[in-house]
Chain length 246, copies 2
């Protein structure tokens, strides 16, 4: 065993594409062996934290689904972008127009949303309609200083019925239309990983991030001083990585 | 009158935002004075050609609407991106998956669309649904060598009920998701302006392009050796232009 491996004290685990593939009737299908792997990690004494860009549900609802799929996971073990976005909104006095999944809206319950002065975009799935995109665009371009906050910047992910465009694609559409650059909350933002590490109480050089996204998971972790491991489940495809991925 | 102005022999006219604002019940509202301006240009002896990125209808249907709004215009005076895309598809043996407006589909009637080996995206309006975007994305990312052809790359345009995202925004979403660069057919592609000039029989230095889009109309024309004039109707807004606009 290499010296660096012996020094590892904590793991950050991505969820979608690593523990399960989302979609379908039960909300998803566990990836074989993953529930057992979580149990073994916890039994090993390693610290463990779930680090996800999940933005289709509140953490409460999301965790409940995962428990139902057989995972040993609780809400206070999860680092997710919506709470990070709420902290940022409050700090800067920003009032968001939300373009997010219906089930994520409760995370923003105590945020003032009147007379918006920014747009928050998340993986809105079916809410990514022509009408909703135009509405978010009009809010954004109508601002004297457009502020676009994006919950992650993933290109796509895998659901049980196939690949789906992720929030990053729609973020790029709004960036282009309004000539702005989004502020990304969630992976691969450095502050997001740092927050997850702090909650786990492990420094980056003693932690490993495990995910299926070469940019958001592996690249983000490396920029933070962690090692990143890419699993071959989820969106993993045996092709050369995109040019800006490494 | 300046020497260059005396040398002008032909005008290229953008349509949406210059002659009329699209949308609403009658399909649009003429911009005051524009129908009279077309008549005066034609009476003056100047050559005139309509150079549009319109992709929500066949040229036949589009021209019929404009005639109904009082414009002196015929199909053979219009340069539009769909016919240019069809020429390109045939030249290169490409079979498109179409993400376009229903009313544009007839322009691709004699194009083989079985077993697609490229995606053609146009201003699909209501067809820019979550499901349709995912479908186009899956076709594109499933290709060994993804080819994305975009009918224009406009950021947005003005309809009677407000600003709408244009094809360029959705093009960027697919570009990002698949790590490809779209080939743009239509303004501001140089080949598109050259084709319009050839059909008019006027060299670029004796022509003026008149439009409301600083990138697609004015920038594209200038790159082609023409002068470009930006009208203050349509999407024109009194703000500084986006950083890549000039």
């Amino acid at each position: 065993m290499a010296a660096w491996a012996r020094a590892v004290r904590g793991l950050l685990l991505d969820i979608s594409g690593v523990l399960y593939d989302s979609g379908g009737e039960g909300g998803g299908v566990p990836i074989p062996g993953s529930a057992e792997a979580v149990r073994r990690i916890k039994a090993s004494g390693l610290k463990l934290r779930f680090c996800t860009n999940e933005a289709q549900a509140t953490r409460e609802k999301f965790v409940k689904k995962l428990q139902g799929l057989g995972f040993d996971i609780s809400v206070d073990e999860v680092t997710a972008p919506a709470p990070a976005a709420c902290r940022l909104l409050k700090e800067r006095g920003l009032r968001p127009h939300l373009l997010v999944h219906d089930d994520l809206v409760p995370e923003f319950a105590d945020i003032d949303k009147t007379n918006p002065n920014c747009v928050v975009i998340g993986d809105a799935a079916e809410n990514f309609s022509y009408a909703n995109l135009n509405e978010a665009f009009r809010v954004l371009i109508g601002l004297e200083k457009p502020v676009l906050i994006s919950l992650g910047k993933g290109r796509y992910y895998k659901e049980t019925d196939g690949l789906k465009l992720d929030v990053g694609a729609y973020m790029k559409a709004l960036e282009y239309a309004c000539d702005v650059q989004a502020e990304v909350v969630g992976k691969p933002a450095k502050a997001f990983f740092e927050s997850a590490l702090a909650e786990m109480g492990v420094p980056p050089e003693q932690a490993i991030m495990i995910g299926d996204d070469i940019v958001s998971d592996v690249g983000g972790a490396q920029q933070c001083g962690m090692r990143g491991v890419q699993v071959r489940t989820g969106k993993y495809r045996q092709i050369s990585p995109p040019s800006d991925a490494l």
